[in-house]
Amino acid sequence: MKLKKINCTNVAEHICGELDEDINSAACRAIKKHLKSCPNCTAYLDSLKKTVLVFKHTPNLRFPAKARKKLFATLKIKA
């Protein structure tokens, strides 16, 4: 991405890179600079980070041990 001056739409399109890796490119530096002075993009990035966090924290279902017995019976395995 070649950007000299960036606006909020540019940030919205490329903001996800912030969540992936800290790329030290000119574009990322420009985005970081923009974030410092733009409450909208800061709020947007924060909400994307929280989206990821909330899914990461979703309680998972416990593995049903009887499934293993069923599998071994299907495959006729003595374990």
Binding site: A12, N40, L71
Partner: protein
């Protein structure tokens, strides 16, 4: 994990795989026990329904048993397992019209090309901030149902990228191997999935 400990574990796993390939049922059973939770957890996160997760888990290990010879050891065993789960999930969803759709991204509400400024030149915040409540304390039944609905709206191929990258913590490279996608395709789908899910949660998280 220290390098020596990891090398020992890798060696133990290689031995188990070799023995299982040679027909050692106990070695295969140990592999199942080692990976049963990982496979079940991923299947449930993608399917979001207990019955489908049960079925996917069973199908995955039946495939593993039958195709273990095809595992060449060039990738991690977990990568190979993830790819079998992903294939099973994709096959189950293939007929759904929703899953053939792509995810379109719209600018979020309150977003403008250039930020608005007040009379004194200060940028006005037009995007609502999300609640500051810690995630653990806001995880209630209502939010869980919202998350289930949101992720089920996401086409399964986007969903798998999101879960592998953001929930399971796989790298872009591993995810590309698991789903047989290019790395740019993984990044593009991840970005679209995140934006889509953010929009789905926005109303709940700002009120």
């Amino acid at each position: 994990m220290p390098t020596n400990q990891k090398q020992n574990l890798d060696r133990t796993e290689s031995i188990l795989i070799r023995r299982a390939k040679e027909g050692d049922e106990r070695a295969f059973a140990k592999l199942v026990k080692e990976y049963e939770t990982l496979v079940y957890s991923f299947a449930y996160k993608v399917c979001r329904e207990k019955e489908k997760a049960d079925e996917t888990w069973q199908d995955t290990f039946v495939n593993v048993y039958r195709k273990l010879d095809q595992f060449d050891g060039k990738s991690k065993f977990s990568t190979w397992l993830y790819s079998i789960v992903a294939n099973n999930c994709l096959m189950k969803h293939r007929r759904r019209k929703l899953d053939q759709a792509s995810v379109s991204i719209h600018a979020p509400e309150g977003f403008h090309d250039e930020p608005f400024s007040d009379d004194e030149g200060h940028v006005v915040q037009t995007i609502a901030s999300w609640k500051e409540t810690p995630i653990d304390s806001m995880m209630n039944k209502e939010l869980k149902e919202l998350l289930d609905t949101a992720i089920q709206k996401l086409p399964v191929d986007y969903r798998m990228v999101f879960i592998l990258r953001d929930v399971e913590g796989q790298s872009a490279e591993e995810t590309s191997k698991i789903l047989k996608l290019s790395i740019p395709a993984v990044k593009s789908r991840l970005r679209r999935a995140r934006v889509f899910l953010r929009e789905e949660l926005n109303g709940y998280m700002t009120t």
